[in-house]
Symmetry: C2
Subunit: 200 residues, 2 copies
DNA sequence: CCTTATTGTGAACACCGTTCAAAATAAACA
DNA sequence: TGTTTATTTTGAACGGTGTTCACAATAAGG
């Protein structure tokens, strides 16, 4: 026992975080556990704790990767569009698309609550800010006269609203008769909000 | 042991569910446990399982009460307003108010996911539908020419958007510089959305 | 070759939700 | 009344969780 394995800490980190997303592709987050993860990568639970600090921080690290994935996809999709309106629409639909394709992974990103002493590393903040900047740019090109603080606020409103639609949609909590498509809800949201935003 | 206690099942249910909301006023849902609850009300864990079926169903019962509280408050506040626009605004702000005042209770209402075989009783559906009907009425009075399905969709869009703002606000995940008030975000959302809705 | 650092472990701990035979009480009946 | 039956409630046990830590096994340095 305690035989040295052939992985550097970086490789093991890679292995574990990949396994987290693997598992979340098949089952919800509450089926995940440190012990299962440890078994899956061939190490003991304690080793993973030594590596990440705690199970909560392990999840935090996996969430950081998820955020990276999302922000990459959103940035990519926005650059393929020319008009500000289309950029916003495609950003929102790409966000929905990710939530639908990786529901467990997406849910744990928001349902995992930080513990005392944990906080988001600053490189994540910069990624997030870059996304919001892109939204703000679209908004101010649609209405150049809007104040900076109004634009800042509007970017948060739009993202939170889109987020709410995605969250309730994948949890099937929209309580809608028949099929109300999340796609058309997002379109409705943006069309109506931006219509007024552009006029003002 | 197995001494008979002086509570009818109904009284014990009352006791337990009150204790859940008590505890959630002080600490987040992941600090809650069947064993703590049992100790708090002076019964054994097994007794609570006999009563509710499982811990998950116990939480479900507590969530049902929360939903009742919320729908009561929202219905009340909408009736105090005359104009459709003010009704919608007060509904949204009351929703935010509840989330802010009972964050743990509010969070578990949406973060507790149903297990196989559980589902929402129909009396809850009717409460929810009643609320949505009120929203739809406001919307169709603001724009009588909108089709029924568009109005149905818009009511879901508005609720989901408001929900998203509340959720990210109480989790402090809006990534806003300085203080962006949730109040004014909701106002911004409704003002812009309804402006366009009324015109269309 | 010996010593020191590093790496990984397994057993133990304190919790968790859940099951279930048995015990204690109440209700029904003789 | 005494006796049987039904109802409550429990405590112990089970398999699970994240976490700690002394110790064993390996690698690296002198």
């Amino acid at each position: 026992m305690a035989r040295r394995k052939d992985h550097t800490p970086e490789q093991l980190t890679e292995l574990v975080l990949a396994e987290v997303h693997n598992a979340l592709a098949l089952e919800p987050a509450d089926q995940l556990s440190l012990r299962k993860l440890a078994k899956a990568v061939g190490y003991s639970p304690g080793t993973l704790i030594n590596l990440f600090g705690s199970y909560s921080k392990l999840i935090l690290a996996a969430n950081a990767r998820t955020l990276d994935q999302i922000s990459q996809q959103l940035a990519d999709v926005m650059e393929t569009q020319d008009s500000a309106e289309q950029k916003l629409k495609h950003f929102a639909l790409a966000y929905l698309d990710f939530a639908q394709q990786h529901p467990h992974q997406w849910r744990i990103l928001f349902e995992h609550h930080l513990e005392e002493g944990e906080d988001i590393p600053q490189w994540q903040w910069s990624r997030i800010n870059r996304l919001f900047s892109m939204i703000e740019n679209c908004l101010s090109s649609l209405n150049p006269e809007a104040s900076e603080s109004k634009t800042h606020e509007a970017s948060r409103v739009i993202w939170a609203a889109v987020h709410g639609i995605c969250a309730l949609h994948i949890d099937d909590k929209l309580f809608a008769q028949k099929e109300v498509e999340a796609n058309s809800m997002i379109t409705s949201l943006l069309d109506h909000y931006l219509c007024s935003w552009t006029q003002a």
